[in-house]
Amino acid sequence: MDLPQKPSRRTLLKGAAALAATPVTGFPAVHAAEPVTLRYLGTAVNQSADIARKVKEDLGLTIEYIPVVTDEVTKRAVTQPNSFDLIDTEYFSLKKILPAGNLQGMDAKRIKLADKISSVFTKGEVAGKKIGDQGTAPRKVFYLEGQDSKKFAGEQTGWISLIPTVYNADTLGIRPDLIKIPVTSWKELLNPAFKGKASILNIPSIGIMDAAMVVEATGDYTYGDKGNMTKPEIDRTIKVLIEAKRAGQFRAFWQDFNESVNLMASGETVIQSMWSPAVTKVRAQGVPCTYQPLKEGYRAWASGFGIPKTLSGRKLDAAYDFINWFLSGWAGAYLNRQGYYSAVLETAQANMQPYEWAFWMEGKAAEKDILGPDGTLIEKAGATRDGGSFDARMGAVACWNAVMDENTYMVRKWNEFIAA
């Protein structure tokens, strides 16, 4: 990892002076006196050396990344709450983490932009319009009853479970050069025309929801809540998957970001569930890949920062400072440029060029070439983003990544699917 070196006294003073001079004010300069290190537990996707470098410049805070996979984040949060100072985890994991009592509610009063956080989280709305609520919608788990509460409030309180870092609406990725027919529905995932060339995630809780989207798309069955199936619903969904597997529909399953990129870029698969930045990465390799909007809508996810219960004193202050910094715009713009969405849109907009904002967030054609945060060319001028504007995409969310009440049963059935 490319973390900045330990600062000398001189650079610290310079940093403090620069901090005083920047328009981003209101951060206590106390960190410059004696650097604080925050151990940041999360998935590699949200962890970037650039963000760590920038926060070091701005706040004098050292961010020490602990990159693990999604499941491992949850496992560590439950079993080793002292091994990190800041957690970046998905909202659906809260159902497991919070009852373990290892997180503290975050004081909304200490989050400067708390009331500017996207209404996706606070109200479950986009542009005043209600969005899909199935699964573990962040709205349902956003507020806690109190600082030490292990219960979700379901309505606005002063205590927040996670402050959003990034969120997105997932759909299928396709190889337009290798697929001859138009893809407009989730049901194409199991279309025999793509036999041996389809893939889904081997993350049971997410893979089964993709399968549920397919089942609903075929019109066979409508779920009460795709993110919280009953046992018969799980059986029905797994049966569909097993039939498809036995018929040779799938080429391989993927479990992490890079596996999905490789499967698609190498042409092993032509249609699969995919994450938006993975599509971007395939395209960056010069391979055509489309993040295909589908008529049934998207399966969304969101992750956010949480603070372990044990954190106190200067480290707790530092964690709040970091989160406030994160919401203040630079990081938001950085993440928006990767194709994610950031929590506070206004500050991110202030840190992006108007043509960038128009491309990423408003669904307009790019006026100039669109560059990624690392300077690589992502889209040439004239291109538009798959799925259109923020409002169009997040407004079309059908369900959210979830942990089901019948999770144990679901995992057993998933193992049956793999063994079939």
Partner: protein, 311 residues
Amino acid sequence: MTDLALPAAAPAAQTASPAASPRRRRRALAYLQAAPLALVFLVFLVVPLVLTGIVSLWEYNEYEIIPALTLQNYADVFDGCLSADLCTTVRTYLSTVKFVVLTLAITLPLGFAIAYFLAFHIRSGTVRMGLFLLCTIPFWTSNVIRMISWIPLLGRNGLVNDTLRTLGLIRAPIDGLLYSDFAVVLAFVHLDTVFMIVPIFNSLARIDRRLIEAARDGGASGAQILWNVILPLAKPGIAIGTIFVTTLVMGDFVTVGVMGGQQIASVGKVIQVQMSYLQFPAAAANAVVLLAAVLLMILGLTRMIDLRREL
């Protein structure tokens, strides 16, 4: 593993002199000598195993393990196994055992041939050691990297398919090269053959060459010498190599996952999925069943070959 540790202590005890007090002292000394290894086994093998056994009997939910005795985890493992249809666990074990058999069927003759070549055909000790080290070179990189390096080779548009197509041998790419049983077995052979070579080579190197000469003088043919002299004397090495390969393949989930495209069941994978969903007691129950299965297989092997006598 514990079986192998025992003989070390046994001969020390046998050599004790008949005199009572020095004998007792030597006996104490022998125990003392065995103590470090015993301690290591206790801390790193026995204690975790006992804990796994205990946890496998506990209840659990999404976020906590409840120390209340239950057999539900085992009931879940064998759920549906009494019906006519094959249950998940049996299917998974069949898939795993299939890979054990296939891998053994290739690594055993292959490992034996390489070890035989090294032990009997290379005269110079230096060259032999050099070649032997050559066998271990793949181990300078990690398991996963060695596996992943196969993917660009075997893929649908990989090197092998491309070459075959350019040569005009095939029209459509062969899909079965990657993400298939073939790929998994290939990777296992690649990763595990050396675990066969080393113990067999060790056994072969200790064979008294005069026995072979005697056999030849007695008029035995090459094949007869191999079958009646060398093979029986190499049995301990073969058994140890077989145990290595069996245990490695039985517990594996990474190779099966990466090369099988995550579509092939393995016992290790089931345990890993359960761990990642914080279902530790269920994973522990599966681990106990796996351990029992592996122990049974090893027991069967040691029935065929008395390792303690042969060593």
